[in-house]
């Protein structure tokens, strides 16, 4: 009999303990703690091997290897519409804390070009992690030695100079050049820009088909080392760090007060829970501060630029405003 009472007491204690345990967890969630309980998906809105894909895969790798996030993270390539196919997919995952995507300035360009209804405001900006900058290069034996010489010639006879880039007009390689050239006083509606999307933009510069190559800084380093091309200017606010990178003059120091940043960060679907936002914000901060990610940054020639959730929104609003007026002037915005 005693035994039975003891046993039933034990059972009651266990039940209460279990209930308390549950209660603790429940109260945790109320206080706003979020821990992922399913695997997390990071969408790269383009094919394998591009900038978005590389960023997403290296982030997922560091999250896993450094044990920053315990859950499995899968990178999914959703190609199409310059990103807009993936964006509509994420947009439909309202409130889900398990579907993230990586993005960069095309999230501003593509809506401005009228190719999607969605803008950054239809998503939850979580954190920016990387900054990449543009470089404007010419052949080693070109007659220009700095941006001002080039822009002076462009003011005089815009039809004599052709700029090449990998993206189409109204997207990154074009707009980064336009932004700097406009500040220097060039009539941006007269700039001759050709897009070479088959990977031949650098070739076109080297064989003299075109005069100026608008690209990312990392693409120019090896060619500069080999004395094939020279970089007239980069779009960063200050000189970049690194062996060859530090020799590139900024547009700013040449008296052209404009910068362009190819930011790259992570976003979630609309209406993400505050607790999930702060969870990811913290994790991306950890990622950004980790040595493993610093190593990846230096390999790809990226700069560190962490921007948290709240400031990110403001940053995106500013970027959008600047680019909108520029694209309206070019007649590209819809």
């Amino acid at each position: 009999m005693r035994k039975l009472i003891f046993l039933s007491l034990l059972v009651i204690v266990m039940i209460v303990a279990a209930a308390c345990g549950d209660g603790e967890q429940a109260s945790d969630e109320e206080e706003g703690e979020f821990t992922p309980e399913e695997s997390i998906e990071i969408v790269a809105p383009a094919g394998a091997g591009g900038g978005w894909d590389t960023t997403a895969r290296s982030a997922a790798q560091v999250f896993d290897e450094e044990g920053i996030i315990d859950q499995d993270i899968g990178v999914v390539n959703k190609e199409g519409g310059g990103g807009s196919v993936a964006w509509s997919y994420i947009n439909s995952q309202e409130g889900s804390p398990y579907n993230l995507f990586v993005s960069s300035p095309p999230l501003i360009f593509v809506p401005l070009n009228g190719q999607t209804e969605l803008t950054y405001e239809d998503f939850t900006p979580i954190a920016n992690v990387i900054a990449d900058y543009a470089a404007f290069a010419v052949k080693e034996d070109a007659k220009w030695d700095n941006l001002n010489e080039l822009f002076d010639d462009m003011k005089e006879d815009p039809s004599s100079i052709t700029v090449v880039g990998a993206s189409s007009p109204g997207s990154m390689d074009h707009m980064q050049f336009v932004k700097i050239a406009k500040e220097a006083g060039v009539d941006v509606t007269k700039i001759k820009y050709v897009s070479n999307q088959e990977g031949g933009a650098l070739t076109d510069l080297l064989n003299g088909s075109v005069d100026v190559y608008s690209t990312g800084v990392a693409e120019t380093v090896e060619q500069v080392k080999a004395d094939k091309i020279k970089v007239l200017g980069v779009t960063s606010p200050e000189r970049l760090e690194g062996d060859v990178l530090e020799t590139f003059p900024t547009a700013k120091e040449q008296g052209i007060d404009a910068t362009f940043v190819n930011w790259r960060g992570f976003f979630g679907p609309p209406d993400m829970d505050e607790s999930a936002i702060s969870y990811y914000e913290e994790k991306f901060k950890e990622l950004s501060d980790s040595e493993a990610f610093a190593d990846i940054r230096s390999k790809y020639g990226w700069s560190e630029q962490f921007i948290g959730h709240k400031e990110y929104k403001e940053f995106l609003a500013e970027q959008t405003e600047e680019l909108t007026s520029l694209m309206e002037e070019l007649g590209l915005a819809e």
């Binding site: 999914v76 390539n77 199409g80 007009p169 820009y193 050709v194 897009s195």
Partner: protein
């Protein structure tokens, strides 16, 4: 360090235990990836990159290169057996490879493809080894003007792809040109023929068109003619043995298209797909019996199969000597090199000779492996055809769907696959040839873009096309290829 010493060091890497292992894993994985329709080397290598982190750069490159040329090698299998191109570089292989298989000569076709791949691969590695640094200047010699001329030359031969009515071939080609304009126009940023559908903004993927027009259309045709007894012999695999006459037939195209494919591979933007088409049409244009092409001609199989493998090695020239990726796959490899701590550029050859020579040496070994792996397997692989037809057809459809979905993870592309399948089926019923469509689709996009790039540069002046000796040469060949059949006809008539 001289070339001989470099190559010896390279072989030391390639013949080390790890070296052999990585070559073997690379080519085996590549063959398999190539065989599966849709799944291509780009995706495979991109997914591999995080795993390469911290690996020895030379070995990692050996592995990636193995996947790349292994896939081009293996891609011919599905083209020949099922009319479902394994990768975009082996679409032209199906033109004559599949008819051969249908005539009960599947084993022979696979053997010819393997030997052609091996020859194209090996000859081009010799060229790569001897001339890579010197060829760097060739790689950058092509600007928009020259590319336009090259694509023009290819399209000029479109009528030669007709089987019967030239008019039908031209209509098919024009439809191909129309299909390739869908999507955002690179020169203006304006969407064309997308009907407000975001899924069409990036245009239509080449493999979706190829699998639809060839594989799905063929499946539909087989279902329609399921009771036709004449199809029974397609289950025969035939002998693997090639006769002396076969080898004699193969010799010409092997000699011609190894260097041609290699040069095309060297040009950034051309690559295995364009080279296989250009090789096929030039071979047909200048053939003594062009009528046999498209009906199981050995020459028609050897030309693209030699060319695409040769182009694969050629693509390493701009990558390793200039740091310029000439194709999607080499672009991904360039990214991988960065991860491995190697900056690909004009100085790579000087700073990391071991990477260059290691890759070159491993490619000799890899190609040999591929031949040794593939030849004995042919009878077993060809047994696919023994699978009861209803099951085989379902499998082909399933693999096409998986393959297309794996390109973009977008269900919309599956509808496109179906649409192109219907178009391909209608083509067959009304005897419109599909090859001109696919040729125009491959060459037309680049032709239009390079034309407009050139005219933007010249401020609209067409004289720019006559200022380049290379372009003039290519235009001359185009005119020659127009005129050649007429001359030949007259000669034949005179002889009679």
């Amino acid at each position: 360090m001289n070339a001989m010493q470099g190559l010896l060091d390279g072989f030391q890497i390639a013949f080390s235990l790890e070296g052999i292992m990585f070559v073997l894993i690379g080519v085996a994985a590549g063959t398999l990836i190539g065989m599966l329709p849709g799944l291509g080397p780009i995706t495979a290598i991109a997914i591999m990159i995080p795993m390469l982190y911290g690996m020895d750069p030379t070995l990692a490159m050996v592995l990636m290169a193995g996947v790349y040329y292994g896939a081009v090698f293996g891609g011919s299998t599905a083209s020949i057996l099922l009319n479902a191109p394994g990768i975009s570089g082996t679409v032209a292989t199906a033109f004559d490879g599949y008819p051969m298989a249908q005539q009960g000569k599947a084993g022979q076709a696979l053997a010819i493809a393997a030997i052609s791949s091996f020859t194209g691969g090996t000859v081009s590695i010799v060229l790569l080894m001897l001339f890579a640094p010197a060829l760097a200047s060739v790689a950058v010699s092509f600007g928009p003007v020259e590319y336009f001329a090259l694509m023009f030359m290819g399209l000029a031969a479109i009528s030669s792809l007709s089987e019967g009515s030239t008019m039908k071939a031209l209509i098919s080609g024009v439809l191909g040109l129309m299909a390739v304009t869908v999507g955002i126009d690179a020169q203006t940023g304006t969407p064309r023929f997308t009907f407000g559908n975001a899924n069409l903004l990036e245009g239509i993927d080449f493999l979706v068109v190829a699998l639809g027009l060839f594989a799905i259309a063929e499946v539909a045709f087989l279902i329609k003619n399921r009771n036709d007894d004449s199809l029974a012999k397609t289950q025969n695999i035939g002998s693997l043995k090639l006769t002396k006459k076969d080898f004699k037939e193969m010799r010409g195209p092997l000699i011609r298209h190894s260097p041609l494919g290699f040069i095309m591979g060297v040009l950034p933007g051309a690559g295995a797909t364009v080279s296989s088409f250009i090789s096929y049409i030039t071979e047909k244009r200048f053939a003594k019996k062009p009528d046999e092409f498209g009906k199981g001609s050995i020459k028609g199989l050897v030309a693209p199969e030699t060319s695409n493998n040769a182009a694969t090695s050629g693509a390493f020239v701009p990558l390793l000597s200039l740091g310029i990726p000439g194709s999607g796959t080499t672009a991904v490899m360039l990214g991988a090199l960065l991860v491995l701590g190697i900056n690909p550029g004009p100085l790579l050859f000087q700073d990391h000779p071991d990477v260059f020579w290691g890759v070159v040496a491993s490619m000799y070994v890899g190609n040999l492996f591929l031949l040794v792996l593939n030849l004995p397997l042919i009878p077993y692989i060809a047994k696919i055809l023994k699978i009861p037809r209803p099951l085989l057809i379902s499998l082909v459809v399933m693999f096409c769907i998986i393959g297309v979905y794996s390109i973009s993870f977008n269900v919309f592309d599956l509808y496109l696959l179906l649409i192109f399948g219907v178009i391909g089926y209608l083509f067959r019923i009304y005897s419109f040839p599909a090859p001109p469509f696919i040729l125009a689709f491959v060459l037309g996009g680049m032709m239009e873009q390079s034309l407009r790039q050139a005219l933007t540069i010249s401020n609209g002046d067409f004289i720019i096309f006559l200022e380049s000796p290379i372009a003039i040469g290519l235009f001359a060949v185009s005119i020659l290829s127009f005129a050649f059949p007429f001359f030949k006809n007259r000669r034949v008539k005179k002889a009679r």
